[in-house]
Amino acid sequence: MTSAGEPEGAAPSPDKSPPRREEGRPYLTGGKPERHRGDKTFWQRFREELYADNTFTVTALAVVLALAVGAVLMVLGDEAVRQQWAYFFYQPLQTLQASWDFIAKAYSDMFKGAIVNPDTLNRWFWGMTTWQQVLRPISETLTNAAPLILTGLAVAIPFRAGLFNIGAQGQAIMGAIGAGTIGILLDLPAIIALPLALIVGIVFGGLWGGVVGVLKAKTGAHEVIVTIMLNYIAALFLGWYILQPGIKDPARTDAISKEVYGSSLLPKIFDPSLRVSLSIILALLAAWAMAWLLNRGRFGFELRAVGYNPNAASTAGMKVGATVSVTMALAGALAGLGGATMVLGTAQVLTNGVVGQIGFNGILVALLGRVKPWGVAAAGLLFGALQSGGQAMQTFAGVSNELVTVIQSMIVIFVAAPMLVKSIFRLRKSPSEAASAVLAKG
């Protein structure tokens, strides 16, 4: 029986070199032989995949659908365009034209604010403006993306261990408090001040997350409940903290802290006039480190095993409680770093809203990024671009910035309901679906 070799196995594909002992090994499991992916050229595969239900296509189409929903809302929300619709039956073409013009203007403003403005590029070419102006939209996108990537990772990593971290917001706030305190109180040389502020931020966030893991491991307290409660506590603690003497800015009557000493601020990476700072480098490094941890790290192996099957993990001698605790501390540290980059990068003071909504947006980023580190990085960049583009859209097209929040949410809803996207666009079944399902575990 074992002599019945399968032709596929005997001719291994050039770009995939299976371990030698597999060659000529029959398909004893009895399934029909699968074609090796390498039997086709890259372009054949590309064409097959392009309109199939793989992750990338589904995500891209989810973005398209969300922008379409956004367009409808834009038309409904604009007074002038809405009035034009009253004449739809008299002047249908004009009505559609007006709607289309409005949508096109808004979305092109969004693009200009997020990636590059062709006008500026043109003027720079003729020497009429500086290169800094050309890069400004990108700089804004990267600046917005950095903390989102970090909080996205703070949600994604526990997710791989079977934990739903709703607490990135609170962990980011604690990180901001830790980093901000160092920056406000200590005027040290930058070489000490900045690392110290970052580390304290990471530790504060890590402790805030670690508590959740320890409570879960020791008492079984559900992490969703605990993190939600800790979010409230962190937010209210921040509100109290910035009013304390020594922290509060004595020259102001409102709730705002003193400014962070310049030595603690994150250095700008391109040019002082562009906001993009070391934070994006830190975020991408964190994504890389988490990808390594999950795929190659010993702890990542434990983390994934616990996430998939805690019973089997403990039967094999893994310490599930310790893994859960460390994972939550790691998540808190990532979110804490995210909060720290906001106070040491863009905000430079502590206020009630210093971290914005990065913790909650991190949940969206993690889901959109399919809880994989590089996916999270890509999703963070997309959300960063939507946010900086939204600013431009508000300023120039007069569309409310809140629309971006709606679009972000719609993207995640469409991604979370892949069947919807697949049926709307009638996608084929992806030939590499099975392969990517295997890869999905990292």
Partner: protein, 482 residues
């Protein structure tokens, strides 16, 4: 299928028996082909279509709501209603009628979780019968029963046959097939390989199932047991519901011997083994390994001390199905060289070593990088056994090592266990398959309600073992101090 016939479907695990029956019951859709009933092609899109077509099914894993009463479970899905309210009395009446008609006594008001497994199964059968089915599918019904309960079930099956019902009886136990079946169809790898009469000899049926001749007996060398490896003294362990599951057990296992623990599932065997492994806290008593007290140790340390452990439910405790075979093979070794350092893993070493294991343990897969969940039950079990046998062992604990495993794999696993015994490992084997315990063990400890009732030699008559498993001791005889 003829009316009033018991048709046995015999095949290895992963042969496609359950898949075929799930298609019949509408839980899965066929890719191709059709189902004929009374010479007409019928389409079954879901269990409701199946019930309408007169097909009922009793699943391997019972589909009962544990906190509901018998009557409530029976009416689930077609609740008798009166003016929008549930008619509980009607359900109770229905259960009474059916159970009297077919001689299946059950108390309609009993709560499912309080009933023994055998009675729960009876409830499943009653449930199917209340829907007036003509064809009843029983998917591995005897896997969870004592020998006595099995006999009762076989009686019930004959009774149903007498009442004109047809039964499809799925199993891989040859003895039961021969006892009740009118016709036997053997399935191998998704294909019907033949039909046989119940008079055919067991070895012939086994050969049809596996596709080659099978050795049902395992040859054992006569080796005297050596030093004391595992000693359990007065161990008391609570189960998840804090009932006392293990109630003062004493056991000894010496190197080079197999101690088999026989008993119907749920008599404390699982809790006993989990306590030895450090997976469950012992309330009192002592576990020692080679003279060292290991009570309350971490599982990791117990494993490190030279214990191999095959948990009873591989899909729950044994494997991470989403992980590759290679990753599963190092699930407890990833911390040691060459597989992992202090922080990192060495995927190359993991995959390379997996290649050797896959060949040595005859794990049938295209590649060691396939997810473990894609394997059939028997091959999944081989992964667990390969992993646990890849370290030098002092003690090998195997809980239900061949549950849900095909005949071919059973043979292989038995050989490996005996090979372990032959090199001087102490083996503790828990099994609810009496045949397996008798075939492998040097001594048999029978557990009932958390106690070891007796430790007997393997040539004890089956009837006596069966009685012991049911808790009947005839005092004085066969009872040795362990």
């Amino acid at each position: 299928m003829e009316p009033g016939e018991i048709h046995a479907l015999l095949g290895e695990n992963g042969a496609g028996k359950s898949t075929l029956m799930n298609v019949l019951y509408g839980l899965l859709q066929p890719d191709k082909g059709q189902i004929l009933a009374d010479d007409k092609a019928i389409k079954i899109r879901g269990p409701n279509d199946a019930i309408a077509a007169g097909i009922g099914m009793v699943h391997q894993h019972f589909m009962l709501v544990p906190v509901f009463s018998v009557a409530e479970n029976v009416m689930l899905g077609h609740e008798p209603a009166k003016g929008g309210f549930l008619d509980h009395a009607a359900a109770v009446r229905l259960v009474r009628e059916v159970s009297e008609q077919y001689g299946l006594p059950v108390d309609p008001d009993a709560v499912i979780e309080d009933l023994p497994i055998g009675i729960q199964q009876r409830v499943e059968i009653v449930k199917a019968l209340t829907r007036e089915v003509d064809l009843l599918i029983l998917d591995e019904p005897t896997a969870v029963l004592t020998p006595q309960e099995t006999d009762e079930l076989l009686m019930v099956m004959r009774g149903l046959k007498g009442a004109g019902k047809s039964i499809v009886f799925i199993t891989h136990k040859l003895r039961e097939v021969k006892a009740v079946a009118d016709r036997i169809t053997v399935i191998r790898r998704g294909k019907v390989v033949g039909t046989a009469e119940p008079t055919a000899p067991e070895s012939e049926l086994a050969e049809m199932m596996v596709g080659r001749s099978v050795v049902l007996e395992v040859p054992k060398k006569d080796t005297p047991p050596g030093e004391l490896v595992l000693q359990v003294e007065q161990l008391i362990v609570a189960d998840d519901r804090l009932h006392r599951a293990v109630d003062g057990v004493d056991l000894e296992v010496r190197s080079g011997e197999v101690l088999g623990i026989a008993g119907v599932q749920g008599n404390g065997q699982s809790e006993l083994v989990e306590a030895i492994m450090g997976l469950r806290e012992a309330q009192a008593g002592k576990v020692s390994l080679l003279g060292q007290d290991v009570t309350g140790w971490d599982t990791r340390d117990v494993l490190k001390a030279g214990v191999g452990y095959v948990p009873e439910d591989r899909s729950v405790d044994g494997l991470v199905k989403e992980f590759s075979i290679a990753e599963n093979l190092v699930l407890d070794l990833y911390r040691s060289q060459p597989f992992g350092g202090r922080f990192s893993l060495n995927p190359k070493a993991i995959v390379e070593s997996a290649g050797g294991r896959v060949d040595e343990f005859d794990i049938r897969t295209q590649s060691a990088e396939q997810p473990a969940g894609s394997l059939s039950g028997g091959n999944q079990q081989k992964v667990v056994i390969a992993r646990e046998m890849s370290r030098p062992l002092k003690l090998f604990i195997a809980a239900q090592p061949t549950r849900g495993v095909d005949v071919g794999s059973i043979e292989f696993i038995h050989k490996r266990i005996i090979a372990e015994r032959e090199v001087g490992t102490a083996v503790l084997m828990v099994s609810s398959e009496l045949d397996e315990v008798v075939a492998l063990a040097d001594r048999i400890a029978v557990m009932y309600r958390g106690r070891v009732l007796a430790v007997v030699p393997p040539d004890t008559p089956r009837e006596k073992l069966g009685l012991l498993m049911a808790g009947v001791t005839d005092t004085g005889e066969g009872e040795e101090p362990s």
